[in-house]
Amino acid sequence: MRTPLTIRFLTAMPRSGWIALAIFALVAWVLVPVAHLALPEGHPLHVSDYFVTLTGKVLCYAVVAVAMDLIWGYAGILSLGHGLFFALGGYAFGMYLMRQIGRDGSYKSDLPDFMVFLDWKELPWYWVGSDSFLWALVLVVVVPAAIAWVFGYFAFRSRIKGVYFSIITQALTYAAMLLFFRNETGFGGNNGFTDFKRILGYSITAPETRLVLFGLSALLLMCTLLLGRYLVTSKFGRVLAAIRDAESRVMFIGYNPLHYKLFIWTLSAVLCALAGALYVPQVGIINPGEMSPANSIEIAIWAAVGGRGTLIGPVLGAFTVSLAKSWFTVSFPEYWLFFLGLLFILVTLYLPEGLVGLWRRIRGARDKAPTAAKSEPAQTSKDDSRLPPDAATKGASA
């Protein structure tokens, strides 16, 4: 008997996962808005503008981290160019936001300010339709998906993998950054897009708008986690992990790794793009700096810090690293890079399974003490450090 898809979707996650998700939804959709709007400033439980924006931003980062983990943790493909898809999503939505400014820019023109500055007389062809919200959404999904698909097709077809793939993706985002730095490219050059005023007619700085964007970011994160959970527990996820561990065997039993990799790669890019599109209205700026190789590699460290091959790990990682960054850059700006650099080194050296792995180890040690050691298979196979932790079958209790 075949179980309907919806049921399978629901059962993909244990009950504790659903409870955690419900609590998260309650906090994001009810408690935070109430604490932000209803409680007066100065009240101990009041949630400030700064908090809402910062957390909303980090929620977007968390989506990117999960997207990164889907390809790195589960498929073994390390992309050092995911910032590109994030930025492309941001730019695609930013075009809409720029058009929403209307004649309120400093030059009082229908064209975005930077075009007036460049003495352009009309919108370039790729800006056509950018005043439509729906078209913006289409662009957010389609453009990064198309670029990811084409790039992935050629890269995976040639069986570029390992560090080759990583460096080529880094080169890709670097090239895109150079391209977007040019004024003639038509995306605001150095300064990118900023000074947004409205979104769907609503003021972009209004607390209500912020809260809606915040709630949407939370929703996107929950959907990403659910989708990810479904994928990694399906046969698709098992094939993916098999490709990661022994690609040639997968081929000789009749799967085409190209299609599997391409699917997860493109999906991951689209998730990044959606996060980027939500990120831009919250922080109010998008510029080519988002495409810098350093940004992309930071995404990888979010996943690594939290724990690759789990779904909750990258979320934890994104929160930990981003909040640490916010704190450091305010308190000890000199030392942020030292901290980040050491984080890269120490996590790879001593915490290969990230925070989730650390927690498991602590819990495992505690559990083991009273009961006779019931060696968990995956734990013993850990000696083989070549293999990333397998979480396709366990972990991930989002």
């Binding site: 050629f154 560090v163 080759y164 080529i168 670097y174 690594a304 980040l340 650099g341 790879t348």
Partner: protein
């Protein structure tokens, strides 16, 4: 008109060489007249006086260092006040001196006079510069002057320039035959300005050609083609040269990476920072020489070479021992960890040396350049870098092919397990190979400091480029790395000339992505079963 006057004065004077009239103080004082026209007339008159004596005065005038104290013209040189007519230093300095200001019109006249005077100077360099200046602004009035100078000039290079100037000047001659001769002799030029002049003769925008004589026009077309070809050759030569020079920098950056990647199969993302370490070492050595041994300052680069190698090698060994060694078999994690190392090194450089860029000056023997071909100037520092890259390449090649260490390194590159079995101390080889690779990056840093500013971020751009060289050349292939580096350098420079730097960079990246589609193992691929492992 004024120009003509000066030249005539100059000619008049030249005809009665060498009897110079002594400088007349009253005449000189006219240079300080209120009226610009009068100043110009004074310059014209004085242009015929003794060049030796007039040169410093005109020079002072153009540098706003000429003053009038009553009726005495005074030029100021450092702290000294010198009577322009007698050349005697005045002590104590005169009171109430008035500065002489000149406007642009006066300045142009002055420059012309200066160039004319300098054509007869004793120093070759001065004459050469003057000849160049006159060639650039040649007009029919200069012709007699040029004839005189030509008769006197012995230096072939200057003579050539003067002939060119003469031909250029003759283009404006009313005599068609003279123009024809000029057009024909200009065919040897490679000067874009000459091209413009000839093209102007063929201009038809006003209805008829600006050159009335057809024979002259035909000759002009022929000369124009030749000039254009020569300019194109010059430009292309220049591009090939800058391409080779970029390629040699890439090679220095990539050689070390090729060794470490070949041996250990890890990409060291902090490789670019090892370049930075080399560059900062050079900067520090330069500072030490400046403070303690200024007389040997020109040798600082030579001292920096071994030091940069050692410092970078030490940093590399520390990285290998502390981090990379513990990540064997986990190449992707190594990418991240070494990226972390690069962040730490960059920030350390910022804290130690400050965030701003530091300048490393070329030693004098590396300043200047050689003119290989019309318009193609080869800077000496870049030539030195190419030579240096070749030298390093030779050393590396000898080390890899002729020494026991090199044999071990090659063995580990090909089959680590087997090499271990036959007694190669693989771990020691790793460390040594890493030290050597890092040291070579340090050498690259020395080279880089000679053509670019030294700053904490300078290494960032090189990791992708040098990795691309390694990919393009094929892993573990020295020859591949060489060809890939040179090829990338030259192709980049040609694309830059054609499409600008950013587009060129993007095109190169796209090219490499496509290239990997066709030849995944690089230019010099190893084939066979062992590639598959």
């Amino acid at each position: 008109m004024i120009r003509r006057l000066i030249l005539l004065a100059l000619l008049a004077h030249l005809t009665c060489l060498p009897a110079f009239a002594a400088l007349d103080p009253a005449q000189l004082a006219r240079l300080g007249a209120e009226d610009s026209d009068e100043k110009i007339a004074a310059i014209a008159a004085l242009a015929g006086a003794d060049p030796e004596a007039m040169l410093p005065i005109f020079k002072a005038m153009s540098e706003d260092a000429l003053y009038l104290a009553g009726d005495t013209l005074i030029r100021v040189e450092g702290d000294n006040y010198i009577d322009a007519a007698s050349g005697k230093t005045l002590t104590p300095p005169p009171d109430n001196i008035e500065s002489i200001t000149i406007n642009n019109r006066v300045r142009r006249t002055l420059d012309g006079a200066l160039a004319g005077l300098r054509l007869f100077a004793a120093e070759r360099d001065v004459r050469l510069a003057a000849a160049k200046e006159l060639t650039a602004s040649a007009s029919a009035e200069v012709l007699p002057l040029l004839d005189k100078a030509l008769a006197k000039e012995a230096d072939p290079q200057i003579k050539q320039l003067l002939v060119l100037a003469q031909a250029k000047a003759s283009l404006g001659s009313p005599d068609a035959a003279a123009r024809l001769a000029a057009v024909k002799s200009l065919a040897d030029s490679a000067d874009p300005a000459v091209r413009q002049l000839l093209a102007a003769m063929l201009d038809k925008s006003s209805g008829s050609y600006s050159e009335p004589d057809e024979a002259v026009r035909i000759a002009a077309v022929a000369s124009l083609t030749q000039i254009e070809r020569r300019i194109a050759i010059g430009e292309n030569l220049g591009r090939v040269f800058t391409g080779v020079s970029l390629g040699s920098i890439l090679l220095l950056a990539a050689l070390g990476l090729a060794i470490t990647y070949g041996v250990m199969g890890v990409i060291n993302m902090a490789h670019g920072e090892l370049l930075m370490v080399g560059s900062y070492t050079t900067w520090v050595v330069q500072g030490l020489f400046r403070s303690y041994a200024p007389q040997w300052i020109d040798a600082y680069v030579l001292a920096a070479i071994p030091l940069a190698f050692m410092v970078a090698a030490l940093v590399g060994v520390a990285m290998e021992r502390l981090v990379i060694r513990h990540l064997y078999g986990r190449p992707l994690e190594t990418l991240l960890a070494t990226w972390g190392l690069s962040l730490v090194l960059i920030q350390a450089a910022r804290v130690i040396f400050g965030p701003q860029n530091q300048e490393v000056a070329n030693p004098t023997w590396m300043s200047g350049g050689i003119e290989l071909y019309a318009g193609a100037m080869l800077p000496l520092n870049r030539i030195a870098i190419i030579g240096f890259a070749l030298f390093v390449l030779l050393i590396v090649w000898l080390m890899m092919q002729k020494t026991r260490l090199g044999m071990f390194v090659r063995a580990v590159t090909q089959n680590r397990a087997m090499a271990g079995c036959v007694g190669v101390p693989t771990r020691r080889i790793d460390t040594l190979a890493f030290a050597i690779g890092s040291g070579i990056a340090g050498l690259g840093g020395v080279a880089l400091s000679q053509i670019a500013n030294v700053g904490p971020d300078m290494g960032q751009g090189y990791i992708v480029d040098s990795f691309l060289v390694v990919v393009l050349g094929g892993v573990g292939q020295l020859a591949g790395a060489v060809w890939a580096a040179l090829g990338l350098g030259i192709v980049t420079k040609f694309l830059e000339g054609w499409a600008g730097a950013v587009i060129a960079k993007i095109l190169v990246l796209l090219f490499i992505i496509v290239f990997i589609q066709k030849r995944p193992q690089g230019l010099f691929a190893l084939k066979g079963r062992f590639v598959e492992n």
